[in-house]
Amino acid sequence: MDFITISGPPSSGKTSVIIKTIDNLIRRGVKVGVVKFDCLYTDDDILYEKIGVPVKKGLSGSLCPDHYFISNVEEVVQWGQAKGLDLLITESAGLCNRCSPYVKEIKAICVIDNLSGINTPKKIGPMLKSADIVVITKGDIVSQAEREVFAMKVQSVNPKATIMHINGLNGQGAYELSTLIYDEKANIKTLEGSKLRFSMPSALCSYCTGETRIGKAHQLGNVRKIDLGNYNAN
């Protein structure tokens, strides 16, 4: 079984891109399954069911979604194998720009869109910077020049990535993506012992563990204060 992780900011077009790509894989007889990770809510699983692929979803609830992802990825890989998949895809919403769910030696794809603003590539951390393939969506509704500038900004924070423009609506480019992401020779059985590409923040503060009260008295562990400079009350 081959395995790829797909990640990207909310609403960047991950699900549309994956569905159009799966269409092409199914036509070539590849058995694909998806596990969708999200935070509080998702109904993307229904969209995957509609195209007839095995799908599971995981909601992280009160946990950091990327921490939740990595704590469960081995189970997900085992599920994929039990289902007899040729290709397992995980989709996760990158909610925090500090974390990313990419694992060393597992293909990592980041989906971002042309409408997100030209400073976005710089702001997105490891999720963009350590991806192997960056898919840029919504290029059909912005000008050629804006597309070129945006791609250039992506390239300058991740010069190694293959950049692909995909139209999530009509699927233009999805065929080409499907040829890049699936390697029929890949034989991934377990992630036991594999490593994250990027360490997640180690800090833990009172609020991580359920504290709701505001004020110094309740703040334990890793506390960092905002620097507002010197100022006088007036």
Partner: protein, 340 residues
């Protein structure tokens, strides 16, 4: 390229590759005060907290730095990929039968129209060209650039550069004036004579647009016609891509003839999927698509060009009528016909 991280100092790096400085700041790596150290030493000297806070991975950064310098060098030295001609070799219709032509060669400066019913495969043909298909798309066509297939790596890195696209749905989304926008695009392309280029695009765009706009007009408030005029002038003059794909850009509110002339004068190869007879007849050839395959390739004949003149007259009549309507005048058909 020889960049020895153990020997080269940051200062020497920046002197040799000025753009490397931006790469440090884009990646939030604080290098001030460490410039006299070798690259390795400087990177080892960065505070652990900063590394954790800013999600820096030094090993990845080093690999990316080399890649970035390589990339920027190629931006400066590479001329655009040149595509003097593209050749399309036959593949298969949707029903699996072979397409019925030997080969189709398109040269720079040519305008090719693609016609056919919805769902027949026009966009697929444009995509085959965009990705330089090598028997590995649903049509199994082969597309040669200057007589050669591209390597996988070339195809996917070149895909950004080989083809520029224009379509009806495109809009400007950035919060910039026309001038700032052109400046941004010109800067990202690292062109030398930036001011001349900006002026040139601005003039050409105004020439194409019915209603004129200014350098300080916000791009998002341009009308549909003005936007497309600016997009076309910008693509013709500033885009590196030698091939321009136009997907259904009818009723553009611009001088379509001049727009095509501008693209062609910049030695672009223009492929245009359209149902507009005026546009279709402006092409040198048209490709007729049916059931996923290229059914026929027709040269625009002299008789057809004669019709083009008549159609242009009709178009002018419609244009004048629209203007009269807009300014509250009475519409009279006979008078318009005589004036045209």
């Amino acid at each position: 390229m020889q960049i020895n991280f153990k020997e080269l100092t940051i200062l020497e790096l920046f002197n040799n590759y000025p753009y490397a400085r931006d790469f440090f700041s884009e990646n939030f790596i604080p290098i001030e005060g460490l410039e006299h150290l070798t690259i390795d030493e400087a990177l080892e000297n960065i505070d652990e907290d900063i590394i954790e806070d800013r999600a820096i991975n030094i090993e990845v950064f080093k690999v990316h730095l080399l890649e970035y310098i390589e990339m920027m060098k190629s931006f400066y030295t590479d001329e655009a990929i040149e595509a003097h001609n593209i050749t399309i070799l036959p593949g298969f219709y949707k029903d699996g039968s072979k397409e019925n032509y030997d080969e189709l060669e398109i040269k720079s400066g040519e305008i090719i129209c693609i016609v056919g019913p919805t769902g027949s495969g026009k966009s697929r043909l444009l995509a085959d060209i965009e990705w330089a298909a090598n028997k590995d798309t649903p049509t199994k066509r082969t597309v040669l650039i200057n007589g050669k297939t591209l390597e996988t790596k070339e195809r996917f890195s070149a895909s950004n550069k080989l083809v520029a696209q224009l379509s009806q749905n495109m809009n400007f989304v950035m919060d910039l004036t026309v001038e700032e926008f052109l400046d941004l695009h010109a800067s990202s392309r690292l062109v030398e004579n930036k001011d001349d280029i900006i002026k040139n695009i601005f003039d050409k765009a105004n020439d194409l647009a019915g209603e004129t706009f200014k350098l300080d007009t916000p791009i998002t408030s341009l009308s549909g016609g003005q936007s497309r005029a600016l997009m076309i002038a910008d693509t013709a003059i500033l885009s590196k891509s030698p091939i321009v794909l136009i997907d259904e850009i009818e009723n553009a509110g611009i001088d379509r003839k001049k727009a095509l002339e501008l693209l062609v004068s910049e030695e672009k190869i223009v492929l245009m999927s359209t149902h507009d007879p005026i546009l279709a007849l402006m092409g040198d050839k048209r490709i007729i698509i049916n059931n996923g395959g290229i059914d026929k390739i027709v040269d625009t004949s002299d008789e057809e060009r004669n019709i083009l003149h008549k159609l242009e007259k009709l178009d002018k009549i419609m244009f004048n009528m629209r203007n009269k309507l807009r300014y509250g005048k009475k519409l009279e058909f006979e008078e318009e016909i005589e004036n045209a």
